[in-house]
């Protein structure tokens, strides 16, 4: 398989975008991504496209991307893998480009969560993730699905709500300066702890906002990379891991096995270990999920994640900054776009162009976990100087 690099990456500012339809967001993210290519790229140089969208809005997804971007002459495939769709779509595209079937591929992700009424949106999204007979009627809403893991973790390892709040404080601090972030403000530990409860142990400020948005990357095979940039970001490893879909059948709720499996695949492909990662974008849909994920990614040992937060090791300036973009927590979480927005941030980090730049970052990791915590995707990236 040949090496594959990201040669362009872009996104639109995430937020409550009632003024933009999904087609508007897709066209704008596509344009931003094309414009980010150092030496320029014509749309007709793209050989295939993958479209990451979790919930279909405004009709047939793949056709919608082809139509909105004027890419009617190439194959377009929709990838839906819950909140891991973005990084998983990138994996699919990488196989095609790495295999030599396509020289340049577009991977674009989006979701529009605010185009239907709140209550119908609610159950529509629940239906995408729950067993109709056994799970759905109980009202296992997304924060509850993740909270069942975090509550068990807290029970086993003595982590507290203060540890969760440290994640919110850190990520909001980072996102406050990110012009693409949905929630551009800082929060204090006291505010996080005093916020209304959503699902114990998560208060309102432990949870992602509902965001609309779109993000994309353009990837190219090694033989053609030079046409587009002299500072490519190499996709060194990809992985997608699965877990049992019913919480009752998960062996150990204090863990996220899907993440561990995805990370194992991605690190094996990259030929490095977690100790080489300089900066990471980690799925923090709920604060405790970021904390637990440190362990699944190998950033620390079992039960040590709260210590990383206490010592500020995942803050900018720490040993391994996590979510310099603000993460899902502050930047926002349109599920199909999230993984690609992470890659956009890391593309800039590894080229030294990020707003919250991590000094000397050479290796980076992007991570999503989604659905009923049953799928995760991990991407390992290397900068031009790695």
């Amino acid at each position: 398989m040949r090496d594959v690099a990201i040669v362009g990456a872009g996104m639109i500012p995430f937020g409550e975008l009632f003024d933009q339809g999904i087609k508007d967001m897709v066209a704008r993210a596509f344009d931003a991504t094309l414009s980010s290519v150092d030496k320029g790229m014509r749309p007709d140089e793209i050989g295939a496209a993958w479209f990451s969208e979790v919930q279909s809005v405004d009709g047939f997804p793949a056709g919608l991307l082809a139509d909105a971007c004027g890419l009617g002459d190439i194959p377009v495939t929709r990838v839906e893998n819950a909140c891991a769709s973005g990084n998983d779509a990138l994996r699919n595209a990488l196989y095609a480009v790495g295999g030599g079937y396509v020289d340049v591929a577009l991977v674009l992700g989006t979701d529009k969560v605010r185009d239907t009424s709140a209550s119908s949106t609610f159950w529509d999204w629940m239906g995408t993730n729950r067993d109709s007979a056994w799970d759905l009627p109980l009202g296992l809403i997304s924060p509850a699905s993740f909270a069942l893991h975090v509550a068990r973790y807290m029970h086993e390892f003595g982590a507290t709500r203060e540890h969760l709040a440290m994640v919110a404080v850190k990520n909001h601090h980072n996102g406050a300066t990110n012009p693409y972030a949905h929630l551009r403000y800082e929060v204090t530990m006291e505010q996080v702890l005093a916020a209304p409860m959503v699902v114990e142990p998560f208060g309102l400020l432990d949870c992602v906002p509902q965001s609309d948005g779109a993000a994309a990357v353009l990837i190219a095979g090694r033989d053609v990379v030079d046409r587009y940039t002299d500072r490519p970001v190499w996709v060194r490893g990809v992985g997608t891991g699965m877990d049992r879909v019913l919480h009752a059948e998960k062996a150990d709720l204090s863990r996220f096995p899907a993440t561990a499996k995805a990370a194992k695949q991605a690190f094996a492909m990259a030929g490095i270990g977690p100790e080489r990662i300089d900066v990471a974008e980690v799925h923090d849909c709920f604060t405790g999920v970021e904390m637990m994920t440190y362990e699944e990614l190998g950033f620390c040992g079992r039960g040590e994640a709260p210590r990383l937060l206490e010592r500020g090791e995942t803050s900018i300036g720490g040993r391994l900054p996590v979510n310099p973009s603000g993460g899902l927590k502050s930047k926002g979480h349109p599920p199909g776009a999230t993984g690609l927005a992470q890659c956009t941030e890391l593309f800039e980090q590894l080229r030294g162009e990020a707003v919250n730049q991590v000094d000397g970052a050479r290796w980076a990791l992007a991570h999503n976990v989604g659905g009923p915590t049953a799928v995760a995707a991990v991407t390992v990236l290397a900068g031009p100087d790695a």
């Binding site: 609610f122 239906g127 809403i141 924060p143 509550a151 699902v199 009752a248």
Partner: protein, 386 residues
């Protein structure tokens, strides 16, 4: 005819209104109350049941009622006849007085004061014999089919003078079922009353405590019986929690339903059974087509599961969920004596009070109403703190 009663069981819901009357929880209806009362008889007694007569004034539905839910949940042959009778206290006593051995009579009062009782006819220490039947018409209370509330002709004296007094006649009642305690005290000084129920459940609650002349009254109608001897009664009555004024969801919304998937799951979900592989013994909940242990296809038989469990992880949903009453707790529980777990709503306890490790029981409840159709399954009832 003298009818012998082999076993008695009574059930009071775990919630009380502001007046101190028991009211059903949000997940209880006539079906679950009937099952709760009958379950108390125990497996040996239930094994002798060959017919059920279910008496209530307030059936769950006039179309699409669920005798098969009662049979599944009690582990009875699905071919067992279930007769649903509309009536109050006299109707229940009447059913008992004509019950053949093996007939299970269940009386259910789903409105405050809510209660349910089950009496199994068969060889036993308690005998009942019809004394008298009186029938005068004073229908001061009425509910037309489709009405949501009772209409009451507002003259308590008319009811008492021309209804109750004539129904009681000159009988030297030892215990009166079907009238409020205060009125019994005025009308039949010296007679006992049934405080916990005033409709169909009342005569069975009376049998549990009082030999002598039992008079069951409703309006101008009464049935009386001479009661001799006694049998042990399994009485379930948790210390009541204060019920909120309403169990209605803050935001109404329809929870989507797939009756097809519910029907496929029914035997396992309502009968509380796991799939057990004939080849390797592996158990699955829910049952599955392919055994995950040995790969056998269609090798699973349904086997009954234990109904005691302990909390493995638990969370409390405090954010308003469209179509659900809140707050509510959801738990993943370890099913005793198995390596299986299930996800269950926590019931009969204030939300947020269940803790990891707490023991309890899995009880049949109406876990949701979806598209107007009740969805039955098992909820986790934490053991009462002593």
């Amino acid at each position: 005819m003298i009818v012998q009663i082999a076993a008695l069981s009574t059930y009071l819901p775990a919630w009380a209104d502001a007046r101190g009357h028991r009211v059903p929880g949000p997940d209880e209806d006539v079906t679950t109350l009937a099952v709760a009362a009958a379950t108390g008889l125990g497996a040996d007694a239930l094994a002798t049941v060959d017919r059920i007569v279910l008496v209530t004034r307030r059936p769950d539905a006039t179309l699409g009622t669920f005798p098969e839910i009662v049979l599944q949940a009690l582990g009875l042959d699905p071919g067992t006849p279930v007769e649903e009778r509309l009536g109050g206290a006299p109707a229940t006593l009447d059913a008992l007085l004509s019950a053949a051995p093996g007939t299970l009579v269940i009386g259910v009062d789903p409105q405050a004061p809510a209660a349910a009782g089950a009496a199994l006819a068969g060889p036993g220490g308690l005998s009942i014999e019809r004394a008298d039947t009186v029938r005068h018409s004073v229908p001061v209370r009425s509910r037309a089919a489709g009405d949501t509330a009772d209409r009451v002709y507002d003259d308590p004296r008319l009811l008492r003078e021309r209804g109750w007094k004539r129904a009681l006649g000159g009988a030297d009642a030892t215990v009166v079922a079907g009238l409020p305690v205060r009125d019994v005290g005025k009308l039949v000084p010296g007679a006992d009353a049934v405080a916990e129920a005033v409709e169909a459940a009342a005569p069975i609650l009376a049998l549990a405590h009082h030999p002598g002349l039992l008079v069951a009254v409703e309006n101008g109608h009464s049935v009386s019986a001479q009661v001799t001897g006694s049998v042990p009664c399994a009485a379930t009555a948790r210390t009541p929690n204060p019920a909120p004024p309403t169990w209605e969801p803050r935001t109404p919304a329809e929870i989507p339903a797939s009756l097809a998937s519910y029907e496929r799951a029914l035997e396992a979900k309502v009968g509380w059974k796991a799939g057990e592989c004939r080849e390797c013994g592996e158990r699955s909940l829910p049952p599955r087509a392919r055994c995950l242990s040995c790969g056998g296809m269609e090798t699973q038989d349904l086997v009954a599961l234990p109904r005691s469990a302990a909390v493995y992880s638990v969370v409390t949903v405090r954010a308003p969920v469209p179509g659900k009453h809140g707050p509510y707790s959801l738990a993943v529980v370890d099913i005793a004596g198995t390596s299986l777990r299930t996800l269950a709503a926590v019931t009969d306890a204030e939300a947020g009070t269940a803790r990891i490790g707490d023991p309890g029981a899995l009880v049949l409840r109406r876990v949701a109403v979806r598209a107007g159709i009740p969805d039955y399954g098992y909820a986790f009832q934490p053991e009462e703190q002593s």
